[in-house]
């Protein structure tokens, strides 16, 4: 049971990501993210991290994907996208691909992966909450302040400037 589901989720994640990268239609790319994000949430469930899985869905599908869709749907040229950043012409892009891909594959092969027998799903929410408010309080607070700054910045950037006469 486990392996079949895992393979299905892994294939879903990769196929979704592939469509995002290779589709000529940017709306399709945006919707393919849905498949990718959802399968990643499934992978979290597989790791017995139910809370993280739900957070993945709520943040990435409910938040980020919807924002991307808003942006994409209001663009004019859906199918013929002019690539404005020409810094990465094919030759240079291939070099980058081979180097970064090589590093990733080397990392995957060389890492000594710790495998564990599949755990029965146990509640993780309470432990996560305790960890956030005790041991990892500082990073948690710094991230919160960063997000608040981003929110205020977005409001300032997005509002209309009212000039006093």
């Amino acid at each position: 049971m486990g392996e079949i589901v895992f393979i299905a989720l892994a294939v879903g994640t990769t196929v979704g990501a592939g469509v995002v990268a290779f589709s000529k239609n940017i709306v399709y790319s945006a919707f393919a993210l849905l498949l990718s994000f959802f399968c990643v949430a499934g992978l979290y469930v597989f790791l017995a991290a139910d809370f993280v899985a739900a957070t993945q869905v709520i943040v990435y599908i409910g938040g980020i994907l919807v924002l991307i869709l808003f942006g994409v749907m209001l663009t004019e040229k859906i199918e013929k996208v002019n690539i404005s950043n020409q810094a990465l012409k094919p030759f240079r892009a291939w070099i980058l691909l081979i180097v970064s891909g090589g590093i990733l594959i080397a990392a995957i092969v060389k890492t000594n992966w710790i495998t564990k027998a599949p755990l029965p799903p146990t509640p993780t929410t309470g432990e996560l909450g305790n960890a956030f408010l005790t041991r990892y309080l500082l990073p948690f607070e710094i991230a919160s302040v960063l997000l608040l700054v981003a929110l205020i910045g977005a409001i300032i950037a997005g509002r209309k400037e009212v000039r006093r006469k």
Partner: protein, 404 residues
């Protein structure tokens, strides 16, 4: 569910020869089908008739009363008609996404039913992240609505889809924040735990627990209406402006999928409100289960009955609101959300925390719930008195008989 699968395989030895994957899959499909056939489909269908009849009576019309007694079978006739209609795709639409969108909306709604409780122990899966799962999985609906709006290649659809997504994304914030006080008081995200933390009598419900949950209850209910695109927040499908919003181009079965999701969503809103704030399936008999002993199952049945009764009453309230109030403008809708609900729900969380600390120190605060219950009781009483006064002043004829 896992336990049920174990139980079935253990008792039926011939199943042990079949791979476990298939047994599990069949059981899951069985549950999904039961839920769909015996509850969601029936509820959505019958509610469509109830809503039209109630709307008729509120607007001094008759409403559908031809098919079957009092028009009760109207929903079957409508369903059959839509089933036999052509599955039409506009020429300029993006075919793949146009065909896919209704399923995503429907799946996002239907997946919520996994954690909707019906009684003590009567729940498909009592996930320990229950209410958080509901918030997460229902965001699929937004993606489906955006998909249908864009792929129809129609201005009304796109505008409707955009409005709907903006509305749902905005109201997700006050709704989630209004749930937090309840989670603080319960200390768990599981639906059954939340219900068990409350009591059978109204003053033991979370809605009347303290002044902050009292406000949170209203924020949650109104925000949930907005998330379900119900009047007074039906701006995405405003008939007078947008034809029908994101489902303008749909017909036949695919159109039904959207409305199916909308009506089933009514029950979800009501059931979640009952679970979080109105005591769920708790009945006075649940306090004396030891006393009842063998009658334990009948207590459960009574609990289920109470839960569904409360939910159906709330569904009626939602329908009532829809045919009474006018629609908000887009800017008013956003004002209500960001200028009132969000700050109030933040204050609620802080207030609930302070209340919990104070209540430990001063148990007197426990009596506040009785006061709040009386205040809560005053609201419907005041409405009833005002209505009777209006009737008396207008000297109008009253037709209270719903059956015409």
């Amino acid at each position: 569910m896992e336990r049920l699968a174990d139980y079935i395989v253990y008792n039926l030895p011939f199943l042990q020869q079949i791979p476990r994957v298939i047994v599990d899959l069949i059981i899951m499909l069985f549950f999904a089908t039961c839920m769909l056939l015996f509850w969601v489909a029936l509820f959505a269908g019958i509610t469509s008739w109830v809503e039209r009849r109630v709307a008729g009576r509120i607007q001094s019309r008759i409403g559908p009363n031809r098919v079957g007694p009092q028009g009760f079978l109207q929903w079957i006739a409508d369903g059959l008609k839509c089933f036999l209609k052509e599955d039409f795709v506009p020429a300029a639409a993006d075919k793949k996404l146009f065909l896919l969108a209704p399923y995503i909306v429907f799946a996002g709604m239907f997946a919520v039913f996994v954690v909707v409780p019906f009684g003590d122990g009567l729940i498909i899966s009592n996930l320990n992240i229950g209410i958080f799962y509901v918030l997460a999985i229902s965001s699929l609906v937004v993606v489906g609505i955006l998909m249908s709006g864009w792929s129809s290649n129609n201005k009304w659809s796109l505008l409707g889809g955009m409005r709907s997504a903006a509305q749902i994304v905005s109201y997700e914030i006050p709704v989630s924040l209004a749930i937090l006080p309840v989670i603080l008081l319960t200390g768990s995200l599981g639906m059954q735990d939340i219900i068990r933390a409350q009591g059978p009598y109204p003053w033991q419900w979370f809605a009347f627990h303290n002044p902050f949950t009292f406000i949170a209850f209203f924020i949650f209910f109104i925000g949930a209406l907005a998330e379900g695109n119900r009047t007074p927040f039906d701006i995405p499908e405003a008939e007078s402006e947008l034809v029908a919003g994101y489902n303008t181009e749909y017909s036949g079965m695919r159109f039904v999928f959207f409305f199916f999701a909308e009506w089933a969503n009514l029950y979800i809103i009501a059931a979640l409100t009952v679970t979080l704030f109105l005591g769920g399936w708790n009945t006075p008999a649940h306090l004396y289960t030891n006393l009842f002993g063998l009658l334990h199952r009948s207590v459960d049945v009574a609990g289920t009955f109470v839960f569904i009764l409360k939910s159906l009453f709330l569904v009626f309230v939602i329908i009532w609101i829809r045919w009474t109030l006018p629609r908000l403008r887009v800017d008013q809708m956003m004002d209500v959300c960001w200028k009132y609900f969000v700050p109030f729900s933040f204050a609620n969380i802080v207030g609930t925390i302070i209340w919990m600390v104070l209540a430990d120190a001063a148990p007197v605060l426990g009596y506040v719930r009785y006061i709040l219950f009386v205040v809560g009781l005053m609201v419907p009483l005041a409405i009833a008195m005002k209505i009777t006064r209006n009737f008396r002043l207008a000297k109008s004829e009253i037709h209270l008989n719903p059956f015409i």
